[in-house]
């Protein structure tokens, strides 16, 4: 009896997706699809990345590091860090507030707010930059008033910070929103009946529940803040050493035929991207580890 039963039992692989006859493809199709995917990755991702680093190091490490001693390059790096350093925390606060309001409450104009949050994604970055020029520029709406009060926004650091904030503003809210909506209000209500105040509920229940999604949103926000070109380019005015961010500075160097320098700075941004990827993977892994598999991942947007 036992033997008869045993002979009928197929040993299934212990983990993961089991390909049954119905879902598996012929070997040729499988290899072809995998091959196309790999070829695509090599041509469009690995090759460019390799070229960035190989060109940067073409003339050796000494030349590579000499690039960063150039005062204009150092200024560009500082400016990028400053813009990201202001934009990311502000957008984090805004993102949490917006996701919280939309996810946990019902109010008039909610869908309009959701649409507005997505606006920077749907508008071309160049247009985003132009909006600020039209608002704060010399011929702009507020231009004369700003000139009277000797405040410079366009072709100055404030304009770059503003443009960066605008372009990166949906990232945190977009990551948190689906999560907050999915989690509903139950845990918050439970906390209230247990005597927690509004702030305690937010800090001890709402925030910890979305911490991985928040971190994920911040990582993406930061990557975009440092890499933004279009919007910043319009408001910057390309004053070397003053209003050039790293992406703008790379363009300037490249146009000056300083390939090693251009690619050296570019390699910094590429490194940032790699670090971002690693941190992102760790965050995903950690959030799964906690049994909190609701982190909505994906939805990356192009620059």
């Amino acid at each position: 009896m036992a033997g008869a039963i045993q002979s009928n039992v197929r040993v299934a692989p212990a983990s993961g997706f089991v390909a049954t006859q119905a879902t598996s493809e012929p070997a040729l199709v499988r290899w072809l699809l995998t091959g196309i995917a790999i070829l695509f990755l090599v041509v469009f991702l690995f090759l460019p990345l390799a070229i960035v680093f190989s060109t940067a190091l073409e003339k050796g490490f000494a030349a590579y590091f000499r690039t960063f001693q150039d005062p204009d390059t150092a200024a560009a790096i500082r400016l990028t860090l400053l813009a990201a350093g202001i934009a990311v925390p502000l957008n984090m606060i805004f993102g949490i507030a917006a996701a919280w309001a939309i996810g946990k409450f019902e109010f008039f104009g909610k869908s309009l707010l959701i649409t507005l949050i997505d606006l920077p994604f749907s508008v071309s970055p160049v247009v985003s930059g132009l909006i600020y020029v039209l608002l704060f520029g010399m011929q702009g709406l507020l231009g004369p008033w700003l000139i009277d009060h000797d405040i410079r926004i366009i072709f100055a650091v404030p304009g770059i910070v503003l443009a960066t904030i605008f372009v990166t503003f949906p990232f945190v809210a977009r990551e948190l929103l689906p999560m907050m909506q999915a989690q509903g209000n139950d845990e918050e209500e439970a906390a209230l009946t247990l005597g927690a105040s509004g702030w305690q509920t937010f800090r001890r229940v709402t925030l910890p529940n979305v911490k991985w999604a928040l971190l994920y949103g911040v990582i993406l926000c930061n990557a975009r803040a440092m890499g933004e070109f279009g919007a910043v380019s319009v408001v910057s005015g390309h004053i070397r050493g003053v209003t050039d961010t790293m992406p703008l500075h790379i363009e300037v160097l490249y146009n000056d035929y300083q390939f090693v320098a251009a690619f050296s700075v570019a390699s910094l941004l590429a490194l940032l991207a790699l670090v971002t990827l690693v941190v992102k993977s760790v965050v995903e892994w950690r959030s799964k580890e906690q049994g909190n598999d609701q982190v909505p991942l994906g939805g990356e947007e192009g620059a």
């Binding site: 209500e189 906390a191 009946t193 247990l194 005597g195 105040s197 001890r204 906690q290 049994g291």
Partner: protein, 357 residues
């Protein structure tokens, strides 16, 4: 702590969830709010808890009007239908939460918190699971943790929203016995919401049957089961057969109800409806000269279980009738589908005669 709900009305937009509801919950009792989904029972529970506020009417705890107090001030323990455990905290921290969020002045020292949580863990028989996260527990365990978390703050009132709704039948049964036992030990005024009449009748001291935003009847399980006040309560608390007939003789309100075929009835007599539970029907092979029996055909027979259930179709009106008879009686009859039997109602309940049952 007694709870007194007076003339509560609550609407969500155009939908009226509660219509002038009044209910008294005596101190120390375990009360069930029973009704079909959408009857307003959960809304009423949430209004008692302070998670929802009524459009009009008042809520009193021990005679004190607390309608305007928030959930936080009312000190109620609330157990949510889907537990609402804090997913990023382990079992211990979940239970300790209510103590930890207290202001510095009223917060017990850490050792006292640990002692209290250990006590509650023993009460819910999960001493060994203190370090686990909610996602690692079974549904029944999560429900018990939710209960312990609510009890940790020593609430004046315990409110439970469909506490066993999401559990399978066997765990449900165990947990409701356990809840009853727990209530007998702790004696805290408790209200729970359920749509399961068996659960309500078995566990509660008092049952309030709700329908369409109002309370149809409130009373002890025996009262509501034996003396349902309205056809809805009768129907909701068990299976029912409705016989339409005419009052045969005497006073229209009190005369005997004739439930024979419409054509055979003396016309001109007032119509009336009689309600009969399936187990209050007797099945016979012969008419025995009794004019009050109904001729019916056996459609289906379900023999599994303590009672044999027989589905019948009336010969005269074509209406379906359900009967439940003891297995011994069923075996003596030896019925087969398609055979003809005579149905004799042993007790008929009417709601139009104005009589207490």
């Amino acid at each position: 702590m007694s709870i007194n709900v007076r003339n509560i009305t609550k609407a969500f937009g155009r939908y009226t969830a509660l219509q002038n509801v009044s209910l008294e919950i005596p101190d120390g009792q375990l009360v069930a709010l029973l009704g079909p989904s959408g009857c307003g029972k959960t809304t009423l529970l949430r209004i008692i808890s302070g998670l929802e506020f009524p459009d009009s009417g008042t809520v009193e705890f021990d005679g004190q009007n607390i309608t305007d107090q928030s959930a936080r001030e009312r000190r109620v323990g609330f157990v949510f239908q889907h537990y609402a455990l804090f997913r990023h905290m382990n079992v211990f921290e979940n239970i300790a939460f209510g103590l930890r969020v207290r202001s510095r002045a009223t917060r017990p020292p850490e050792a006292e918190i640990r002692r209290r949580v250990q006590e509650l863990l023993a009460l819910i028989q999960l001493e060994n699971q203190a370090r686990r996260y909610p996602s690692q527990l079974s549904g029944g365990q999560r429900q018990r943790v939710a209960l312990a978390r609510a009890l940790a703050v020593q609430p004046k009132v315990l409110l439970l929203d469909e506490p066993f709704g999401a559990l399978d039948a066997k765990v449900r049964m165990e947990l409701r016995r356990w809840l009853r036992k727990l209530h007998d030990e702790v004696h805290i005024t408790s209200v729970f919401v359920t749509h399961d009449q068996e659960e309500a009748l078995e566990v509660a001291d008092r049952v309030a049957v709700m329908n369409g935003g109002h309370v149809e009847q409130a009373g002890s399980p025996d009262e509501v089961y034996d003396c349902p006040a309205t056809p809805f309560v009768f129907d909701f608390l068990g299976k029912v057969n409705i016989f339409h007939g005419r009052v045969e003789s005497g006073d229209p309100a009190t005369g005997t109800l004739e439930i024979g075929a419409p054509g055979h009835l003396a016309s001109g007599r007032p119509p009336a409806a009689g309600y009969v539970r399936p187990h209050e029907l007797e099945l016979r092979r012969e008419r025995n000269g009794d004019a009050t029996v109904i001729e019916a055909t056996v459609l289906r027979i379900y023999k599994a279980g303590p009672l044999a259930r027989v589905e019948l179709r009336r010969r005269d009106t074509g209406e379906l009738v359900q009967a439940e008879i003891p297995r011994a009686a069923f075996q003596a009859l030896a019925l087969q589908p398609g055979e003809t039997v005579f149905v004799k109602p042993l007790a008929i309940r009417r709601f139009d005669d104005g009589m207490p049952c």
